[in-house]
Symmetry: C2
Subunit: 393 residues, 2 copies
Amino acid sequence: MTLIQEKVQQAIGILQEKQIDLWLTFVRETSAVPDPVLPLIYGATLTWTSALLLSRSGRRIAIVGRYEAETASRTGAYDEVIGYDQSIRSDLLRTLDLLAPQQIAVNTSASDPAADGLTHGMYQILSGYLEGTPHAGKLIPAEAIIAALRGRKTPAEVERVRRAVETTAEIYRRTFQYMRPGQTERELSDFMHRQMEEMNVTEAWDYDNCPAVNSGPDSPVGHAAPTDLLLQRGHLVHFDFGVRQEDYCSDIQRMVYLLRPGEKEPPAEVRKGFETVVRAIQEAARFLRPGMKGAEVDEIARGIVTAAGYPEYQYATGHQLGRSAHDGGALLGPRWERYGNSPDMLVEAGQIYTLEPGLLVPGYGYVGLEEDVLVTENGAQFLIAPQMELIII
Amino acid sequence: MTLIQEKVQQAIGILQEKQIDLWLTFVRETSAVPDPVLPLIYGATLTWTSALLLSRSGRRIAIVGRYEAETASRTGAYDEVIGYDQSIRSDLLRTLDLLAPQQIAVNTSASDPAADGLTHGMYQILSGYLEGTPHAGKLIPAEAIIAALRGRKTPAEVERVRRAVETTAEIYRRTFQYMRPGQTERELSDFMHRQMEEMNVTEAWDYDNCPAVNSGPDSPVGHAAPTDLLLQRGHLVHFDFGVRQEDYCSDIQRMVYLLRPGEKEPPAEVRKGFETVVRAIQEAARFLRPGMKGAEVDEIARGIVTAAGYPEYQYATGHQLGRSAHDGGALLGPRWERYGNSPDMLVEAGQIYTLEPGLLVPGYGYVGLEEDVLVTENGAQFLIAPQMELIII
């Protein structure tokens, strides 16, 4: 069974569990305007206005432009493929009449970008089609379906993420052997880009900022590209890096300290900062398990950082990982407006999260680690060994 | 000046021309849910909810998550960059109060996918923010702005498309030297993929269907992947192929006929089909000029094909080409429901269109050619020499 077929089958189980009659993915020109669910349930682009319908009763129907009907059939995930010529309207309405759903879930969400692939223009077209039919007023958000489908990784998906994570670890190993004071942030980034090419993987987010490399206290931290700043002794060097391998992503942060002449170990404030971040990750991982709310996990890590006297970090402790480095759904984050309801969504087995608290050590630089963990029925499992000691060069 | 800076400046000119006070691009997690205008006016992903505001008065303001403020500044395209922490709402409303626009154009369109990047969830969030403020009810579609901005290529953009087109022509040349009866469609596709790699370009649409290769009357034509069908003498072989080079695309169809033993030239019905398609393209190109409606150009090509006794093709005669192989905006297409108002939009100088009529020659296969042309004040200009004769092997 292909991954697509596996996920479509999983989706039907989720519709049954959530008692939703029909899930409709309504898209067009997805090479320009992709819906993030398509790689999960279709695996190709759709050019003309197209409808993928999955029903609680197990029906799997694709209505697509005639020239894409063959591709739709070849997915092996849809048992009925309807190819149309001039307008999708009549085939879509006829199919809805046959299915007679109580609700039609569509890909819209205020909180979860990964469940918000339906454009406003397409929403208006669909609403226009349904106006004056028995299906008007049936549209509901599919966010719970999509969060479950993206979040609950099948074993094959977990293995793909694991391989991406292992490749990332290998690139980090090579980088730590290569790096030394006097290089620039950009040189390190170029080196890592060459390793990606050699290992035949691509970047997990914007190429220019993947990796992010921050050396010392003057480097702009965040989603900014590496600069010509020099690595100097007495600097903390922070990396944020991930790869995409077989369509799945990793997202890992690592920390190095460059000893000053005469130093045997990093200064006390550097050690304190690093150990605080390690502790926040370990405690969050120890608590992370199915049934918790994301905000509860966030509080644990955030509380350890602030209790140690650091200002709280201005982002979530962790996000899900999968097809995208930021994979949507439940978030291990605080209840801030910009996160919508995602911090109140439940942690479930099969989800993969990052854990990535951070803090600043004045005069030395930024300390951030990021580990990737799989949620199992028995708690969180690190996908590779987490960084427990500063790498010293 | 970078391409981004050039396009942002062009956008302000378009706001003045169209007398629209403000254009607001409102996005989040664009690595998962990209808005197709971002590559034109920003050039990086945006993670947190972000607002790019361009005003008729020339203001260029980016409100982004604090961690992405540095990247926003480095675009050099925005003279004010506001980095926020917990919610964009207050910075956005304060900025709107300062600008006091009469209308706020947002990226939504029923007809033009490339102008429909605003998701329904984000539209609802924005409407919620504006409710009860003086800005409620000011939202209008930005489709005319986006169509003009994407469509009117700057000289630097035209050069990029031209280079992609030339690379495509070179890959075709190599393929025609390589191909012979007994190969499969898939072998030809593999060969072309190797040339892409060698020339360091990527596919213009789905890798599996780029190129499409159709040999003979039994091959499924459309957006389907090449099969294990054998190239045989007496087959028409049809290619549809494009590359992405420096972020800009080509999209070209080519035709080959495989002579049967004893044949000196293709059979009369094959020649008639090919010549009809050539004539339809040449006539459409001769008429294509600024100020026409797309549907008028479509009628010319379509009319030549039907007047020659073939059924009309079930797609548009031509679409725009640029950042995407299907670049949105005005369409050289019939007034069918699925095309919305795009066939009624005007042809403008600086646009690049495909011309791609097609027809079936029973017993031999599909005949489709596709040429890429630039609209100038004086009419259409082929970006490379069009195919005027069947390639004979």
